[in-house]
Each structure stands twice: as C-alpha cells, then as structure tokens.
Amino acid sequence: MSPLKRIAYFFGLPILLIALWYALSFGSTNFFVPKPIELAQTLWTTWIGERFVDDVLPSLGRLAVGLFFAIGLGIVLGLLIGSTRWLRNLLEPLLEFFRAIPPPVLVPLLMLLIGVNDSMKVAVIISGAIWPVLLNTVEGVRAVDSVLSDSCRSYGIRGFARIRYFVLPAVTPQIMAGVRQSLSIGLILMVISEMFASSSGLGFTIVQFQRNFAIPEMWSGIVVLGLIGLGLAIIFQFVERRVLHWYHGLKEITHDS
C-alpha cells in the first residue's frame, strides 16, 4: 500500500466523524457536551507539560508492568490449563468466579492484601487484563490441529519442546486476539485502579475533573485514553505482523486475490 493510501485509511473515518460531531454540536450549549475546537484546545493546555510527566507517565509505567504480567501469566497459565484437563476442571469454576467480580469491589480487597501502592494498582490491571489472554490461550490449546499434534508425538517432541515448537506458535493467532483485547482492558483498569487509594495518575486526574465539573478537561482526558489505546494498537500491530508473518502469509493467499 502506498503511504498516501495508508494515511487516508488512518485518518479518513476519524475526520469524517469529527466533522459530523462538529456539525451536530454547532448550536448546542449543553454544559456536559464539549465542542471539537474547545476540546482540542483543552487537550493541549491540560495534558502537555507537567501533568504529562506527573500523571500520565507513571500511569503508563504501571500499565506497562501490569500488561506485561497479565500477558505473560495469561499465556503460561493458559498453556497449562488448556493442555491439562484435570487442571481445567479444577480451576475453571474458580476462575469464572474471580472473573465475574467487578474491579471496584475487588480494589478494597486488594488494598487490604497488598496495600495502597503501585503494586496494588498493577494487581488491579492484571486481575482484569489477564482474562482475554488466558481464555483465548486455553481455547487455542484445546483446538490445535490433530495431525500436527500427532506429528509431534510421533517424533517424541514433548514437554517444553512441544510447547515451544508446536503449541505456542499454533496458538499465537488466538493469543494475539486476546492480547489485543487485554491492551484496552488494561487501560480501562488503569483508570479504575486510580479511582481508589490514589493521589495522582491519569485515571485519578480524569475522575477529579469529572467530580469537579471540569467537563472539557474530563473529555480531553478521555481523548488521551483513546489516543493511548490507539498508540498501543499501533505498537501491537507492528509486533503482530512480525510474530504472525507466517499466519498472514498463509491466510492472505486468498485474501489478496
């Protein structure tokens, strides 16, 4: 694809939507609904500078650590649980139990067990972002191709080698689907984790704005979240293209025709 086309794809729909929003908000005076231009100005004045260093960067740091562990643990546990039936039977109800507990309820408990610190916030991020990776990995492991699986067994490829050379690559497409979900859920939980027992951070700041009726600032915070999400997605896409180049080659035989 030519760079020009790429740019058109990237900005096309967003520009269209912003134009629509601009048209719709033209005559509106609603206090809670921002206008595009006002929002853009607020975005600039609110987030560039000191606040970026004090609130956004530490949040991003926690997010990165949380995602790292969520993805790592999700894959490791997923491989374990997916390939061991008794473990799956043992843990599935429990995992479903924890998955159903809303983070705002979980936070006090984590505070109790871990304390009011960065580890707690990271734990909140892990507690929510792990599920898509874990679930997708488990399902992927369960669905590996039977002929490939037999090939491995007949060549005595077992244990760690089997995971490394067979299961992991085979499940990577599913894992990537999970990771992509985890990125945005992690971001959401970064906000939620800062809504409790916090005094700084992106999420904390957005909630402050919301409580203090700084509505344009609040929306600008939400836009920042969206932009961070977009940034994560772009990084992710880059990594995925690399990790799954064989998969895209395999699938695009027809897609390109």
Binding site: P104, L113, W131, Q181
Partner: protein, 267 residues
Amino acid sequence: MRNQRSAAAGPKAKALGLGIGGIILFFLIWEATPRLGLVSDRYLPPASEVLGRLGQYLTEAAFWKDVADTMTSWALGLVIATVAAIVVGLIIGSSRFLRRATHTTIEFLRPIPSVALIPLAVLIFGTSIESTLLLVVYASFWQVLLQLLYGIADVDAVANDTAKSYGLGPLARVRYVIWPTALPYLMTGLRLAAAVALILAITAELIIGTPGLGKQIALTQSGGAISSMYALVLATGMIGVLINLGARIIEKRVLSWHPSVRGEVVL
C-alpha cells in the same frame, strides 16, 4: 491425552467433582486467612460467616429482586451488544476496505472506560436502567466485535476458495463458511463479554445507584456491613460461574464439530 481417555468413565462426574474440589479449596484458604490472623476479621470476615450471611440473603425476597434487576440489565445489555457486534463485525470483517478504514476509530474508542461515560449516560438517560444498559453495551460490544474480527480472519483459504468456486456469493459465504469458522472465536468473545457485562451492570449500579446487586453492595459498603458486602460479592461471583456454565453448554452444542469439543470425545 492419555489422562483424557482414562477419564472416560464418568468424565462429567469427575469434572464436576474436580470443580467443586477447587471451590472447596478456595473457601478453606479464605476461612484460614482471617482465622490465622493474617488479615483482621473486621476487614475480611471468615468464609463461614460470609456464607452464613449469603444463606440468609437467599431467603430474602429483596435479594432476589436485586438479582433479577441486575440480571435484566445484564441480559438485555449482552443481547444488544452481541447482536450489534455480530452485525457490525460481519460487515466490517468481510470487507478489506472497511477493515482498514475503521481500524483507527475502533482502536480509539475501544479503550475508553465505560465508567468514564457515566456522566454521559446519566445525562442522556438519568438514573434509569438505560444508563446501566448503555455502559453494559458499550463495554461488552468491543469484546465480541474484536473476537469476531479475528475469527473472520481465520477462515481457511482452501475452504473459502471452495465456496467461491461453487458460486457462493458473499452472503452465502458468510452463512456457510465465515460464520462457522468465526463461531469458536465468537463463543470466546461471548464468554468474555458475559463477564464484562456482569461487571459493568454491577459497577453501574454501584456508581449510578440504579437498583440491583451493585447498589446493594454500595449500601453495605457505606453502611459498614462487611460480611453482607462479601456475601453479595460472593453472589456476584457465583452468578459469573453459572453464566459460564450456561455458555459452556451452549458451546458444546454449537461447536460439536470443533476440535476443542470433539477432541475430548474421540481421542
């Protein structure tokens, strides 16, 4: 694989037994934590006390009314989100152009936390159930959509070529090839979304104050009724387990041909 076969004698009973074993283990650890003084029982009451309180709740009509309220938002929200995601997903997923053109927008909107939309929800719908629904739908929509898009990308080239060569048009291919291929992904998406929908239903009730389990949790929290609060959290978790059980049953039926399901029967 070997142990899968040895489990063949009453595998269902065995699976159930293991699952229950896991739960019992969890409760034992929970019971021990405050009893051994690892955490003060004023902040984390022992499991037995919470279970007792839950037992009491189960006999109260008001509790069941709350459960019904929460489950209504959950079910409605999930259905709306799923249907919308399937329609949007199939449209976007089967066109390369749309896939590319919507990418930025989707990735921008997806990480916006539902909870940040609460003012907007209240602004539009007040504190009625629609506010909760908006949050539930927004959060679970993306889960289903994304899984579906990945599923559609996983369509086998040879299978798709076969369908094309037999003159199956785009719609027929969606129905006979793309849909079945994406179904396993969709089921995972649904299970993710079901949990997220429950979480958001409760969270919205908790924060906005629409009636349901979430509101009750908030009340017990602010009222300092700590074992009641944990009893309600427990109830929430149990609902999650039941939902997953239901999803598994549906999955077994819908995906009987899929390696993840058939593998356990044949091998």
